[in-house]
């Protein structure tokens, strides 16, 4: 006990990165995985030794949308689905900033789906972290674009009939520079992907699987928060393991790993060239 109280405040990571004396306790349910993602983000930022003044965290609406208020960065809680578009404007005028965008699956892929694919296509240097709880948690468990087919949701009382988006694969197909998926059970792996995404020069996406036990879990009798963790552990496989499986076998699995890691020119750097060209032509 003595040892802990004598530790200087700054040496403790939560003291350095969280608005701990202002905004806690947080809004999330006990056992929610969003806090685990937040932990992974600040450990990743800490490992990279980044200047907090130079980091912005931007979110949309929903459970994950509440994340920025807790961290001691430049933070902005925007409108539903539009976090990437707000971040695009900020990144363009402050290209030196590390802009981390945190979204839920409904925020990023349903209402914000258009911004998601276009940010990827443009390859603007944002780090998009999508917490995929496969439902709309804040509004009570309605089906989202990532809800698995067949499960029950507050708006699918007879079972969900649509097929889900696979976020990391979608990002890769939309030409993101980096796209990876892990889960809140595989925290070290998640942290590693997030650190890589922040450093990556281009649009990078990390999908963090994290089932919502309060809504989707309850509706489908999946059990408690620890049961959700067990589910993530048992349901997930690596990309390598997936290679040996048939399409049918893979359907029920969460495939973890890196889906894209390519070196393509980043948007704000390309725009610097536009400025150079425009000024040269104007001078002539």
């Amino acid at each position: 006990m003595d040892k802990i109280t004598k530790t200087p405040r700054e040496s403790r990571i939560h003291e350095r990165y969280l608005r701990h004396h202002k905004k806690f306790p947080n809004v999330w349910c006990a056992g929610c995985g969003i806090g685990i993602v937040l932990g992974a983000i600040i450990r990743a930022v800490d490992s990279l030794q980044l200047d907090k003044d130079n980091i912005a965290m931007i979110s949309g609406i929903g459970c994950t949308g509440r994340m920025p208020v807790y961290v001691d960065f430049n933070t902005m809680h925007t409108t539903h689905g539009r976090a990437l578009a707000f971040a695009t404007g900020l990144k363009m005028v402050r290209p030196e900033m590390k802009v981390i965008v945190v979204m839920g699956d409904g925020d990023a892929l349903a209402i914000g789906g258009n911004h998601f694919i276009h940010a990827a296509r443009r390859n603007i240097g944002l780090t998009a972290i999508v917490v995929n709880n496969s439902t709309y948690g804040m509004t009570g468990g309605q089906y989202s674009p990532t809800t698995p087919t067949g499960v029950l949701a507050a708006t699918a009382p007879y079972g969900h009939i649509e097929q889900p988006f696979h976020i990391a694969e979608l990002a890769a197909a939309a030409r993101a520079a980096f796209a990876a998926r892990s889960t809140v059970y595989h925290v070290k792996e998640l942290e590693k992907y997030i650190a890589h995404a922040i450093v990556k020069d281009g649009f990078s996406v990390v999908e963090a699987m994290s089932y919502c036990h309060t809504t989707l879990g309850r509706l489908n009798h999946w059990g408690t928060a620890p049961d959700m963790m067990r589910r993530l552990k048992e349901q997930s496989i690596t990309c390598k393991q997936a290679e040996k499986m048939s399409e049918e076998e893979k359907q029920a699995k969460i495939i973890r790993g890196v889906f894209a890691d390519r070196d393509i020119p980043e948007y704000t750097r390309l725009y610097d060239q536009v400025i150079e060209r425009a000024q040269k032509e104007a001078a002539q």
Binding site: N74, R94, A278
Partner: protein
Amino acid sequence: MTAKPVARLMQGDEACAEGAIAAGCRFFAGYPITPATEIAEVLSRRLPQVGGKFIQMEDEIGSIAAIIGASVGGAKSLTATSGPGFSLMQENIGYAAMAEIPCVIVNVQRLGPSTGRPTSPSQGDVMQARWGTHGDHPIIVLSPSSVRETFDLTTRAFYFSEKYCTPVILLMDEVIGHMRERVVLPDYETVERAERAGTTVPPEWYKPYENFPSDVPPLVPFGEGYRYHITGLHHDERGYPTNRLDEVQPWLERIFRKIDRSLSDILLYDEDGVEDADVVVIAYGVTARSSRHAVEMARERGRKVGFLKLETLWPFAEEIVEQAAAQASCIVVPELNLGQLVLEVERVIGRDKVLRVNRADGEMIKPAEILKAIEECEWTR
């Protein structure tokens, strides 16, 4: 970059783009839509020349989101659209009002509702510009009636936006946007610019939404060492979400107050011969042109007709309208809609002496139609 004061033939849309450059705008995000597209086209060429940035977003929602984000980064920011795109932008206009982020939104009005009659002129978005987003919020809306005025009011839009930390809407119309006129633009260096108040306190004392004597928050751009929180939720002086009753409504009243206490700065108008007029014509935008013509025709016939041209539509110039109408027995309000700003005129001076002239078929109101109303006024009196 300065433009030499030489006469040029230019469109309203071009004048808007040049006004933005002159005002110090360095970021534009937009989505193509007639009759506003030329603003984007000109700025895609002009902004990088002055070290600014242009982006064509995937839709209008993304466009306004991007300009708010850029403004948070410290850049004077603009988007331009027309009716359908303006409808899409409404939610984030409310966000900018709520979070008090300066930005300018141009709506070159076309005939609606919906896709309407593309792309004929209209003044059908006057009420939408005031109340298009949900919830009580203040807004500043300016409406130009010539190419030169478009340049000037664009620079004023940025000035008000930065000075009062609020979204400002420039309500143009298809005629003003596409019409070409000979203009002499001022030296851009002479254009009055407002910079955000900022702060003098160190970061550890900084409260972004502190209740300042001016009622305008001392917002500092992101990335300058003042780490704080911005949200569309009701928030306290630190920017953190609040449900406290002693914070929610007082805050809302403050954002109204910051505009209402500065009406003498914000209300732009032009009046001519209203003091002893029997009839006063009140108009704005393209309709002000037909109105001016009609007023002159009536005067030639010996009528005592005054003219009040409103450049600031919102906040509504209550006292100015009241005073201009005081002596007159009849007020004529022509608009390219079925009656929008006239509702405000009637609210202020009563319905008895107000005569409406409306047209919403995509054609302009002709001076003769307004003249007829002026004559009718005198005849019924």
